[in-house]
Amino acid sequence: MTIANEQLPGALPDGAETEDIPLGNTSLALLMVPCPDRDDAALLERARAWVDGDSDSAQKCLLISLQGAQILWSPGRAAVLAPAERLPAVQPALIEFSQHEAALRDIEREVEAGWPDLEADSPLAFDFQEKALGRREELARRFQRVIGLRARLARLVPQVHRPLIHPPTLASQVSERLRERTRLIDRLEFIGGQIEVFEHVYEMCSQRASDYMHSRKGHTLEMIIIAVLCAQIILQIVELLSKLTTE
């Protein structure tokens, strides 16, 4: 998909191309600029401004310079300023990294959104009561969501933890450097730990709810039997009292 011209960073050298690449729930706007002159500071600045877009200061783009290629990357936008013959090597690496990063960012966002629910649900991991019965479906949904997150993370980890290519290529170096600069490995580890907390709490909630329902069925049956016995006792007491009355 081609990006509208008005979104581009001003005048670009001939052969510059933009592409909008879908990445699951989001997309990557990629600007490829064949640029023989590595020291074109003005072009680099314009590209940086475009990659930054209207994002806030915390999300300013990363700049990586490798073998004459300058790569600007931010979530959702990237630009490559490199000699024309190097552009095809950088593009797949950049797209692949962006896919992994977007997938991880999605998981991080969902985990972040789940903390208030987790805090509200955590008492049920200790003690499940009658009044919480109405929340069982909600708890089951959240447990399934956590399992889904864990599955997505499990699929992502081997893709990110690929062994380094030897001898290193421009593409492998771009990929490796971006992973380092975005702390992708650390973030995977942190989010794994966070999901573990969710799993732990919701597993316990599910266990407590299941135990409660199991014992509730038994108790209900016992209470019904007690009620029937009480009815019999009441009738016997009434009979006894009426006998005492007539004697």
Partner: protein, 361 residues
Amino acid sequence: MRYSSIDFLRTYAIFLMVLVHFVENLSGVQSSLWNPTGFGAPVFSFLMGMSYHIWLSSQEAKGRSDEQISKTTIRRGLFLFALGFAFNILVWLPEDTYNWDVLTFIGAAMVFLNVARRMPSVVLLVICVLVFVISPVARAVADYPSYWVGGYFECDLTLSQVLLGFSVTGFFPLLPWIIYPLVGMMTARAVFSPDNKTPTTRPAIIGGSLIAASVLCLILRTHTPVAVQKHLLLGWKMFPATVEYVLCTLGFALLAFALTHRWIDLNPRFPRKGRAAAIAGTFSRHSLSIYILHHVVHLWPLWIYGIAKGQEATYYWGKALPTQLSIALAFVFIVAAYFLFRWMDRTGRGGVEKWMRWICD
């Protein structure tokens, strides 16, 4: 949370109760089409179960512990039980101390609801069915008619007769009257559950079915054997609360609540801050006080007048006034009570309900 439907139904029960008591006690007129005896107390007891569930939810939302809730409930139950005895002695005079009026029943029912609140609804349903089934049997075993002379309950002051009065033979014995607050509590659980998307459908269908079953019993009664007519299908009677009576009044309470909840609480166009809702709210909040006050204002003058005329205190009971005058007095009382309780609300003076909260909460 206040539900206008409950306020309106409780106001209806109070109006009916005041009218029936004035007409019966001052003029001796029993049930008639315009004076339908027997619908006030069941609706009142049913709403008590509903209100208890709403109160319970609010207490849990406030974070009160199970033990605190139990203590408050039991204290309230005992307060009402003691108030019932005081009411019997002071209003109905000491010989009627153990007539087991509605206040003693509500007090005992509240203590029972404290146990029932921990039970699943299916167990409560089984208890209701058991109570419904064993009540006619218990009445037959206890020889119910022998306690009723001239249409009124009388018992000797022996422990066995007093206990039988409380459980089976009195005006409002636990069997079968405990069914109403239990069904009220079950209904409130189901209707006010946030998961229930069609809260009024099931109570309306069950209520309608119970009324239909009652009508069927009344129609088929004459075609049944004498033993069944004598012990099971006794026809439309409040004392004892017969099978037909319980089915119909319970069905009526369920259906009336389902309809008012749908038309009032769930209707966004209904003016919740309107005049009608305010009047119903006033009567509903002070229902206990009105129950006691309306007896005091029409029975005490009757007793005093009897004594002043050199007769027994109860000499003029049921023959003091013509029916039209009794009806007029009932309406005058209702209007006066409204203004009295509005004034009490404005000036921060509480009735019996406030004393109960002060003592028990």
